[in-house]
């Protein structure tokens, strides 16, 4: 923490050992540092001390009674004794009281074997009890599908309640009743409805709260642990996968480890079954004449692919190939894929799912400040004075980054400004806008004008960095002129936010010394995403926060390795580095290393590939783990493009809609079955480790690329994933120095200078122009395809645990709109526009803004047809997250 520095150290003696610790340290922590373990239940380093379990009593000289070491702070010259007989005696009594009600059902308890109470009982108690009374028994009201509470075992330490409140900010658990009859409950007899982060399961010192997914399947001593990285979002959380034989049993995370410090979300904690879903492809499949797939051996499949690829390459040249890879692959695989496409097939048509939005964050960062990574880390978020969250329902998209924001606000008292479509209403899952100092409720298609409003208030209120005008007069004047063309009246009318709120927010941000902007999917995945990010960088420069320590603009990655995909060159415009594809020296170096000539043709991105496929220029495609047929709307004519190909190879876990069009399907491994590295949203390269053997005959993606290159006679041979990593290191010097904290790049001075002098002019004519998309009178609702906390892409919809929480999509509406339309939660609703009509279920939620309807993108199979596809001219990002619809209630009989 920032406040502790070396000057105020306190010296104390614990059990005869003298140590110096920073002022304000708790006695229990000081004791831990000298190796004295003081037993405790209610204390946890993440939570405020509660001192309710009385287990950590110690004797402190000159203090009259035994003191709870978890709530006593150290003082100079303190003498603490924890191993004297009467302290033991006190602990014995405390345990006797706890055991008066704790059932002795350790043999059937999932915590048995790793239970604090069990351990302390062995250490301190006599084997008999003086209590002859009956133990308390709580009646059971329901059996939860995921988080099972057995309150008879509860020791009432309130750790779960405090965790739910202080860390997660959900407040879904509360103690009801009093005394020994205190029971941890949700609300009355209602089933637990919360974020399902699993934090209460992890933090419970006994077996009162356990996971039902693995209930009774294991005993702790049978488990083999593998430390790896979660695949469900860009946060890159450290997870420990526990397996018994080859069966996945549970996932947890250790406090003090990884970027998440032991906190997880529902996806990480309950989502691990997706990898072992029975629908996994077990063998290579080759499409027969009759259009059906036949099981094949690896030799047959690889030889067929190699033969076809060779044929097409000879006939049409390398440019007839297109390659698409998912950012869920490891860095090694992404690197090898682009090497395979560029080196072996000789095509510059390579792209990855980072194209769906993350490039909108990276391209502006590169052009303005010359970095492709954040210039800040999660630690900087926690230490920030002011945070500006734009277009991100951070709890649902990047829950752990959200926790850092919560920590900054709740513990660091940072100023939080949210520009978000959500309304600050309390619900069953936490809502970041409730913590905001200033909240700007902006409709999802109005972020652009709201950002302009924010910059305008910086200029109008004289909040501009004083040195800027002299340092970069042209930049300042040009931006001012561009901003001035939009009037306040227009901004207020369109965004619905008043001028005062804008200037309050701008004041709040400018008054801070450590200000960060966090940009989410609402900006990155909606039209003009790259322009908005550039404008926000202008905002940072204008307020003088750009380049300062602890400041920066942070685009959030949606997929776990979006950042890695860009760094590994698996996008059209970049070679590994990322270095622009036309960079001469890098091309030379890569040619020499790969022993091939790099293709000269212009690179083509995702949508250009499909366009050219339909035009017949692209003859064959290699799609790895991506499902464009399902993730892009029908208006994009992806299916038609893929059908017109001569040869399509898909490398997949499941037989998706895209894979069904393929000529050959190769079974790949999921993240639990392979080694490698993931790069998280803040740019930290973290190791992924194999937990279980590959399912069926599936093989890691890099092995398949390697095998294919050998069959094609241009071998890229590697013994293991680490060999590829070594090669990446030789290409990108200093890459992936694995350490406890992400490296924090600083903006490159020359690039920033260049931007301030002339770079800013690029696109300036358009990027501050506010356009307005008026709804047609017959389609008054803005339908937004949003991300749910309980799912990630379509992959997690194969996880049985997450399906227990959310198994289908529902259209979410504001209560006032619902009232107007006569819709209640659970009613059938017809959603329609010019593209079609879909009937679905309604869900009324207070946090949805008026005139907006949201639908989770994970279940959009049917509703996808209503969306249109827009392609960004600059960054080539396909946008398909917003559309205008009308809603009507459907009577049950009509369905």
């Amino acid at each position: 923490m920032a406040e502790s520095n070396n000057q105020d150290l306190v010296t104390l003696t614990v059990d005869g050992m003298t140590t110096s610790v920073p002022q304000g340290t708790l006695v229990i922590e000081a004791a831990r540092q000298v190796g004295v373990m003081i037993p405790h239940f209610c204390y946890h380093p993440k939570l405020t001390p509660d001192a309710n379990c009385r287990m950590c009593l110690v004797e402190i000289e000159k203090l009259p009674r035994l003191q709870t070491s978890c709530s006593t702070k150290v003082a100079e010259g303190m003498v603490v004794k924890s191993n004297v007989p009467h302290v033991d005696e006190a602990r014995k009594s405390v345990l006797e009281f706890i055991l008066a009600n704790h059932p002795l059902d350790c043999p059937v308890c999932d915590q048995g074997g790793r239970c604090d109470l069990q351990d302390f009982s062995h250490q301190y108690t006599p084997t008999t009890s003086r209590f002859t009374e009956l133990k308390r028994v709580f009646p059971k009201e329901y059996f939860s599908p995921l988080i099972e509470t057995q309150m008879n075992r509860c020791v009432q330490c309130m750790r779960c309640v405090r965790y739910c409140d202080q860390v997660m900010d959900v407040k879904a658990l509360a103690p009801s009743g009093r005394g020994t009859l205190t029971e941890i409950k949700h609300f009355s007899a209602h089933e637990l409805d919360c974020e399902f982060c699993g934090g209460c399961v992890q933090i419970c010192p006994v077996g009162a709260i356990t996971s039902r997914l693995s209930m009774y399947d294991f005993r702790p001593w049978m488990l083999k642990r593998t430390d790896t990285i979660c695949t469900y979002c860009g946060d890159g959380c450290h997870i420990t996968i526990q397996k018994k034989q080859d069966e996945l049993i549970e996932v947890n995370s250790t406090q003090g480890v990884g970027r998440n410090n032991g906190d997880l979300c529902a996806r990480g904690f309950f989502g691990y079954h997706a990898s072992v879903h029975p629908d996994r492809i077990m063998h290579p499949l080759i499409k027969q004449q009759d259009g059906r797939f036949a099981q094949a051996t690896w030799e047959e499949a690889l030889e067929l692919v190699a033969e076809k690829f060779q044929g097409i390459k000879t006939a049409f040249g390398g440019n007839a190939f297109g390659g698409l890879v998912t950012s869920r692959c490891t860095n090694e695989e992404l690197y090898l894929f682009q090497k395979f496409m560029r080196g072996v097939l000789g095509s510059n048509r390579v792209d990855s799912s980072a194209r769906f939005g993350h490039v909108n964050g990276t391209l502006p960062l590169l052009s303005v400040q010359g970095t492709h990574r954040w210039t800040a880390t999660f630690e900087d978020i926690v230490d920030a004075d002011a945070l500006l969250l734009i277009g991100t329902n951070i709890t649902e998209t990047n829950p752990i980054t959200g926790l850092k924001v919560k920590q900054a606000v709740k513990q660091g008292h940072a100023i939080l400004v949210t520009m978000e479509s959500l309304l600050p209403a309390r619900g069953t899952i936490s809502n970041i806008t409730l913590l905001a100092t200033h909240h700007l409720p902006v409709r999802p298609d109005h972020y652009h004008i709201a950002i302009v409003g924010l910059i305008k208030s910086v200029l109008d209120n004289g909040l501009v960095d004083p040195g800027l005008e002299t340092r970069a007069p042209e930049f300042f004047r040009a931006i001012k002129a561009a901003i001035d063309s939009t009037s306040w009246a227009h901004i207020e009318e369109v965004s619905g936010v008043s001028r005062e709120v804008f200037s309050q927010s701008a004041h709040a941000f400018s008054s801070s010394t450590r200000g960060m902007i966090i940009v989410g999917q609402g900006v990155l995945r909606s039209p003009r995403g790259a322009e908005m990010v550039t404008n926000l960088l202008d905002f940072l420069i204008l307020t003088g926060r750009h380049g300062q320590p602890g400041c920066g603009l942070c685009p959030l990655a949606e997929e776990n390795n979006d950042q890695g995909a860009i760094e590994m060159g698996a996008t059209a415009e970049f070679l590994p580095g990322p270095i622009a594809i036309g960079h001469h020296d890098t091309r030379q170096a890569l040619s020499k290393l790969w022993e091939v000539d790099l293709p000269q043709e212009p690179a083509s991105s995702l949508m250009e590939m499909f366009r050219d496929a339909q035009a017949g220029q692209v003859k064959a495609m290699y799609i790895v783990g991506e499902n464009p047929v399902e993730s892009l709307p029908q208006t994009g004519k992806i299916k038609e493009a893929l059908e017109s190909l001569e040869f399509l190879v898909c490398q997949e876990l499941f037989l998706t809609e895209t894979a069904q069009l393929a000529d050959v399907v190769l079974p790949a491994c999921s993240y639990v079955e392979k080694d490698g590295t993931f790069t998280n949203t803040e740019g930290m390269v973290q190791p992924v480790r194999q937990a279980i053997d590959p399912i069926g005959e599936s093989r890691p993606d890099w092995e398949i690329f390697s095998a294919l290159s050998v069959v094609m006679d241009q071998p890229m041979e590697y013994g293991e994933a680490r060999d590829i990593f070594k090669e990446i290191r030789s290409v990108i010097p200093g890459y992936g120095l694995v350490g406890p904290v992400a490296t924090r790049p600083t903006p490159k001075v020359d690039v920033v200078q260049q931007y301030l002098q002339e770079g800013f002019a690029h696109g300036l004519a358009t990027r501050y122009v506010c356009t307005q998309d008026q709804p047609a009178s017959d389609t008054p609702f803005l339908l937004a395809s949003t991300q749910s906390l309980f799912h990630s892409g379509k992959f997690s919809t194969r996880s049985k645990g997450l399906l227990q929480i959310q198994s289908s999509g529902a259209i979410m509406l504001n209560p006032s709109d619902a009232k107007k339309l006569g819709i209640a939660s659970g009613d059938s609703v017809c959603v329609s526009n010019a593209h079609g009509a879909v009937t679905t279920i309604a869900r009324v939620l207070n946090r949805i803004p008026p005139d907006v309807a949201c639908f989770p993108e994970h279940f959009d199979q049917d509703i996808r047809c209503l969306f249109e596809l827009h392609i960004d001219k600059e960054s080539h990002v396909p946008y398909s997250k917003l559309t205008w619809v009308r809603l009507e209630r459907v009577e049950k009989g009509d369905v």
């Binding site: 043999p107 059996f143 209930m215």
Partner: protein, 179 residues
């Protein structure tokens, strides 16, 4: 040498004494070898024979699937697959239970480890088989051994003492505490 000893030497006294013992036994003949398949030796009550799974008096299995026997076994005889009882949430039982008796040392540590006395050692020892695979026993076989070896059964645990009443009982069956 005394006179008496001299006479004993003269008349081969030791041989006579030996012959006396021999002849006495010859007259009062009583065999000590058991004719095994036809005759059986009574076993001590703590004899450690074949292992068995036991039931309560209401025919329910005692085993709660806690895997402690598996953990205690020095030669990895036991494999337990525990699960929730179908239809009775939060109640645990052994879905599958295997013993590889080819490896068993009959040390009895599993019986010691069992918290609910679900394992017993019977007096059976005649388990010679022609096929080793017949010594891989499953739960049904082990319960059958228990059924024939222990005809007198214990009362179900929740009826023994109210304080252990909610040890692995499905929550519907919990006797409620008086208000």
């Amino acid at each position: 040498m005394k006179f008496g000893e001299w006479v004993k030497t003269l008349i081969f006294y030791e041989i006579l004494m030996g012959m006396k013992a021999t002849l006495t036994h010859l007259l009062h003949y009583k065999p000590i070898t058991l004719q095994y398949p036809h005759e059986k030796k009574p076993l001590p009550p703590n004899y450690r024979g074949m292992l068995a799974l036991l039931r309560y008096d209401d025919e329910t299995e005692k085993c709660v699937g806690c895997d402690l026997c598996e953990a205690a076994c020095p030669s990895r005889v036991i494999q337990v697959y525990s699960a929730e009882v179908p239809g009775e949430p939060t109640k645990r039982y052994a879905k599958e239970y295997y013993m590889d008796m080819t490896r068993c040392l009959f040390c009895g540590q599993c019986v010691d480890a069992c918290p609910v006395d679900a394992l017993g050692m019977t007096q059976e020892f005649e388990w010679a088989v022609y096929d080793k695979r017949n010594l891989q026993l499953n739960k049904q076989q082990l319960l059958a051994i228990g059924d024939r070896a222990f005809p007198v059964r214990e009362k179900r645990i929740e009826f023994q003492h109210p304080n252990v009443a909610y040890f692995n009982v499905s929550f519907g069956d919990i006797p409620q505490k008086d208000a």
